[in-house]
């Protein structure tokens, strides 16, 4: 059932930029591996080579002892190697079932056997815990649901070796637990699992061994049990990491900067009221589908919504993000590829888009834009070989940093960060936490929507919990525990 | 009181000023006929292409229930079958300008003279050049009609070996295209004595191009069809290059409709062939061809 994979001196260059420098190690059958490394270490690239999406520049991949050269993903899948991409690969106009079976359609004679496919799709959806009809178009799904579809798609493939590239980056604990259950079952069936994640607690929980990569090189392979989280982080980063979270400042005493009363986003959120002060960090917790994203999209005028909104005591009705930006409110979307970044644009153009008028007087000043890019690369630790390349050439985590830098460019008074550390490595995560704290100290109000409870607890002054479109509770620092948050989110309290 | 007579008219749409003239005359005929004969209804339809015209014929028969038809075919060959279909329903058919490939279908034929349209300018040009010189020609949109005119022109020129036809490119009966083609003729040929623009619209573009080049070698620009602007120029003698024209009046549309309508009311037959001759228009007879109210 399961298979052995061995990398021998695998190298990969994109043009003259070499991103893999002779990687050699092996995955033994039937085990679960955590693949660790900083953003841009080459994890995704190596796994894409394994699964037939990229050609190696040198070296070879051995499968069950024999060198194999997959020309495309279908050949790799035929050999039982399946990859769940870090970036979604779904055709938005097709339904869930159609996506799950794309390229592997079941047929009855010449015609498609849609009934069977729908039935089997429903089954894998149930396995991953997605309560959606297989006939739903993917366009209508939220990010977390798309991630579940990606996982379901891989499950439908009968993998012998399954690579999961940050499958939980957008999932809340509930879905994550369900995924772990699925993984346990696959493992019991003898499937080799490779789990790429920056959530070290998860890695610790589900893997047998960890493989660490750094700067395109293999660093070590060790039993998970022999390492602490702290040691894992140090191995990845190659230096000693101190505390992940900055020490908390006392909550500010200033008057509320943003006040929301009885806000409603038809279909997604009802009667939501809250407020944030300048200098405060407010967290939003909730399960997938709790309506957090939609609430803020409604507030920013990205979808229809109604209710009272005050900034600095002034009542406002924001009809679009442009008006919001004028009031000093910006929003980082959780959907990086679909809503966050122009992947076909250069880094510079992405970075300055929300704040372009500051670089136009009236002619754009590329030199100043370039200067801003250099500063952002520096302060956000964006790792890129080349400042002139397109955003699509950045690794997932580095794209996230760029997206974050972009929404902070206009120096907003209120910033809403939806899953700000999605796919970001520990080192960079720490930098982002410190940055968020610096923003708060400078007098900005920061709202963090996150599915990582630890993050909310470690960072926020208060955390609002949403359940089924309503505000279930707002907890302040004193009573913040994971158990509390989960209890409010699920309604068991 | 005569029985109710419905006369359908089907013709190409007014995308070109000649056709606009034809549409104008068709509507004039409708006005006059309906006024003179209260029992008569005339329906004028225009089509943008052959296949739309075929559809239109069908609609005229099945829905409007016409008893007679005057058709100016978009194209001879393409409309032969559809007109035959109309004919087979017992409708009296008069064909205008472009004859069907199977003449047995039509009851009557009214047309301008395309051969003369090419022949008269050729003769005029040959005479005024004294049988010697360089000429260029512009052609219309590639059609049978355009071929007939060009053939007639060439046939005459065969008799004048010293006249050299330097080139004949398509100006598509369009002022702008003619302007460009003429500009390039002027670049290419250093000595041109006369231009056969083959259409008054194209002559407009040709004249502008010559004017721009300030060339003096061209002595004559011969248009064709007798558009009102061109006739006016001729009458006023306002452009020395314009000395003559050849008639090809869209008024035959008026004649065809009127003749057909009246003959039907009286139960008479039309003569099978009614060719309205194309004649040479010069300053002397120009006013007979001037219709200021027509768009053409």
């Amino acid at each position: 059932m399961s298979l052995t994979v061995e990398f021998r001196k695998v190298t990969k260059s994109f043009g003259p930029v070499q991103v893999l420098h002779g990687v050699s190690f092996a995955f033994e059958p039937g085990r679960t591996y955590g693949l660790l490394g900083e953003n841009g270490a080459g994890k995704s690239t190596l796994m894409k080579i394994l699964a037939g999406y990229l050609e190696p520049s040198g070296g070879e991949v051995l499968v069950d002892g024999a060198p194999r050269h997959f020309r495309n993903s279908r050949e790799a899948e035929a050999a039982g190697i399946v990859l769940i991409h870090q970036e979604f690969n779904l055709a938005e106009d097709l339904t869930i079932a159609q996506n799950i079976f794309l390229g592997h359609e079941k047929k009855r004679g010449l015609l498609l056997d849609d009934d069977t496919m729908r039935r089997e799709a429903a089954q894998v959806l149930r396995q991953v815990g997605l309560q959606a009809s297989p006939d739903t178009r993917v366009r209508q799904l939220i990010v977390a649901e798309k991630q579940l579809v990606e996982i379901a798609k891989a499950l439908a493939r009968q993998a012998r070796l399954l690579v999961m590239d940050e499958p939980t980056a957008t999932l809340t604990p509930g879905e994550t637990q369900r995924l772990f259950a699925v993984m346990a079952q696959l493992k019991a069936e003898g499937v080799t699992l490779v789990y790429i994640s920056h959530k070290l607690d998860e890695v610790e929980k589900v893997t047998d061994e960890v493989v660490v990569m750094r700067d395109g090189r293999f660093v070590t392979r060790q039993p998970t049990a022999s390492l602490t989280r702290h040691e894992m982080a140090n191995l990845m980063v190659g230096r000693e990491l101190s505390d992940l979270f900055p020490p908390k400042d006392p909550p500010p005493e200033t008057p509320p900067l943003l006040q929301v009363r009885g806000f409603r986003v038809p279909g997604w959120a009802e009667d939501v009221s809250f407020e944030v002060r300048a200098g405060e960090i407010l967290g939003f917790a909730g399960l997938v589908g709790a309506g957090r994203t939609e609430l803020f999209e409604g507030l920013l005028g990205l979808r229809p919504g109604e209710g009272e909104l005050q900034v600095d005591g002034k009542r406002l009705q924001l009809r679009n993000p442009g008006e919001a930006a004028n009031e000093g409110i910006t929003y980082l979307s959780e959907d990086r590829k679909g809503k966050g970044l122009h992947v076909d644009f250069g880094l510079r153009q992405n970075l300055t888009l929300m704040n372009l008028h500051a670089y136009a007087q009236p002619w754009l000043n590329p030199a100043r834009e370039q200067q801003a890019l250099k500063e952002a690369v520096q302060s956000f630790g964006i790792r890129t070989g080349d400042l002139e390349q397109r955003a699509s050439a950045l690794s997932g985590g580095n794209q996230q940093k760029l997206a974050l830098a972009k929404v902070l460019q206009p120096k907003p008074r209120v910033v809403v960060l939806d899953e700000p550390t999605r796919g970001v490595d520990v080192g960079a995560k720490r930098d982002i936490y410190f940055l968020v704290q610096r923003l708060a100290r400078e007098g900005q109000a920061v709202i963090v929507i996150s599915s990582e409870l630890v993050e909310l607890i470690g960072l926020c002054h208060r955390v609002a919990v949403m359940r089924a479109g309503r505000l279930a509770a707002t907890l302040d620092q004193a009573g913040l525990t994971e158990e509390d948050l989960i209890a409010h989110a699920t309604g068991t309290r | 009181q005569a029985k109710k007579e419905v006369l359908g008219v089907s013709m190409p749409a007014a995308t070109h000023s000649f056709m606009a003239g034809a549409v104008y005359w068709a509507n004039e005929a409708k006005k006059d006929l309906e006024k003179a004969h209260p029992g008569m209804q005339v329906i004028v339809k225009t089509a943008a292409n052959a296949s739309e015209q075929a559809s239109q014929l069908q609609d005229l028969v099945t829905v409007n229930k016409i008893t007679s038809l005057v058709v100016f075919p978009f194209e001879s060959a393409a409309l032969t079958k559809p007109v035959a279909q109309v004919k087979s329903k017992g409708v009296y058919v008069t064909v205008v300008d472009r004859g069907l490939t199977d003449p047995s279908i039509q009851d009557a034929y009214v047309a301008g003279d395309n051969t003369a349209f090419g022949k008269i300018p050729a003769e005029y040009i040959a005479k005024s050049l004294n049988g010697k010189g360089n000429i260029v020609a512009l052609r219309g949109i590639p059609t049978t009609l355009d071929n007939e005119r060009m053939d007639a022109f060439n046939a005459v020129m065969k008799g004048y070996p010293d006249i050299k036809l330097l080139d004949a490119k398509h100006g598509n009966w369009n002022r702008d295209d003619a302007f460009k083609v003429m500009q390039d003729y002027l670049t290419r040929f250093k000595d041109i004595d006369a231009v056969w623009a083959a259409d008054d619209d194209m002559a407009v573009g040709v004249l502008k191009a010559i004017e721009q080049s300030k060339r003096k070698d061209i002595k004559l620009v011969f248009g064709g069809a007798g558009a009102k602007g061109a006739i006016k120029t001729l009458m006023d003698g306002s452009d020395p290059l314009i000395q003559a024209n050849v008639s090809y009046s869209p008024k035959f549309m008026y004649d065809a409709i009127k003749m057909t309508g009246e003959a039907r009311l009286k139960g008479e037959k039309l003569p099978a062939n009614n060719i309205i001759p194309s004649v040479l228009i010069t300053k002397q007879n120009a006013k007979d061809f001037y219709f200021p109210n027509s768009p053409f």
């Binding site: 779904l90 794309l102 815990g129 | 609609d59 393409a78 079958k81 279909q85 490939t101």
Partner: protein
């Protein structure tokens, strides 16, 4: 998972289905309104005879539009279909006239002509597909180029005039357009058949699924190991075949081909597809919508033919307004 969540998620699905249905009815609603207007303007509009006339003449554009629908869903475009139809018609007539001398049976001659039409259509489609995929040239440019090329060659073959089918052949061939079965003209049967086949292929075969996937996101399709180039080439060939079929029906109608044959058919076919609710940028679309769109466009000009309330010069304006209004009625999918 808590119960509310399940409930909430059921809603979007139901709403989506309803919206989908309503959306699908957009063009049909437009058509119905138009038919009511037609009946009010001229009592003869709502007769079987007129309906058959309209459907019969929609056949060409309808059939081409079915093929065009595939091309557009796959994210492509084909501007050459009108010229292609003209050139195929010309070649078909020339060859039929020629072989009529040596082959006795006119039926056999016509069969040869038909085969030729389909073959040429597929061949031209193949050329388009290869230039677009292997040559990596924008479909707009490739087919703009062939638009000129096809028409130029027809003009050349026709020597600027018309190519006309021999009378004897024309008489034998003519029932293919003018004949009918069970009171319904042949071209209408063919249109229905092509549309049904098209819908089947689009919705019930792997190929159809790939066409949609490519139009939705080409990279995703490539990652799913779909043979993107092959599928695209097949799409253009399919359209070529449809053009061939349309030509087979067109030739007996007018019995000739000339440089003005098929002018602007491309715009009509594309308009039918898009009025029918398919987005120009591809990804999803419907064959039913496309056929309804084609019928709708014919009905507009039929109504204009049947009434004289408006200056003939303004016909095109009325068409323009109606197209925009119909599109407005079924907008909002973008």
């Amino acid at each position: 998972m808590p119960p509310e969540l399940v409930e909430r998620q059921a809603r979007p699905a139901r709403a989506a289905a309803l919206w989908g249905k309503l959306h699908g009815f957009g063009p049909i609603a437009g058509l119905v309104l138009l038919c009511i207007a037609g009946t009010l303007l001229n009592g003869d509009f709502a007769t079987v005879g007129n309906a058959m006339n309209v459907l019969q003449r929609t056949a060409f554009i309808g059939i081409i539009a079915v093929g065009m629908c595939f091309v557009i869903i796959s994210g492509g475009i084909d501007l050459s279909v009108g010229s292609m139809a003209a050139l195929i018609a010309g070649c078909m007539i020339l060859v039929m006239n020629k072989v009529a001398g040596s082959i006795g049976s006119p039926v056999a001659v016509i069969a040869i002509g038909m085969l030729l039409a389909l073959l040429l259509g597929a061949l031209f489609g193949l050329a388009h597909g290869l230039l677009i995929t292997k040559g990596r040239i924008e479909p707009f440019i490739v087919t703009l180029g062939t638009l000129g090329i096809f028409r130029a060659y027809l003009t050349y073959f026709a020597d600027g005039g018309a190519i006309t089918l021999d009378n004897a052949l024309a008489d034998v061939y003519s029932p293919v357009y003018y004949g009918s079965l069970l009171g319904i003209p042949f071209p209408v049967w063919v249109l229905v058949l092509v549309a049904l086949l098209g819908a089947l292929v689009l919705n019930r075969t792997a190929y159809g699924r790939y066409v949609q996937a490519i139009g939705s996101n080409e990279q995703v399709a490539r990652y799913a190991a779909v043979a993107v180039d092959r599928v695209k080439i097949m799409t253009y060939m399919l359209l070529g075949l449809c053009v061939g079929v349309a030509t087979v029906l067109y030739v007996p109608r007018l019995g000739s081909a000339s440089p003005t044959t098929g002018i602007l058919w491309e715009l009509e076919a594309i308009a039918a597809v898009i009025v029918g609710g398919t987005a120009l940028k591809g990804g999803a679309g419907s064959i039913t919508g496309t056929v309804v769109g084609a019928v709708l466009l014919s009905v507009i000009s039929n109504i204009l033919n049947l009434t004289s309330i408006i200056s003939v010069y303004l016909n095109a304006a009325v068409q323009g307004f109606v197209i925009i209004i119909v599109a407005f009625l079924q907008r909002g999918r973008r």
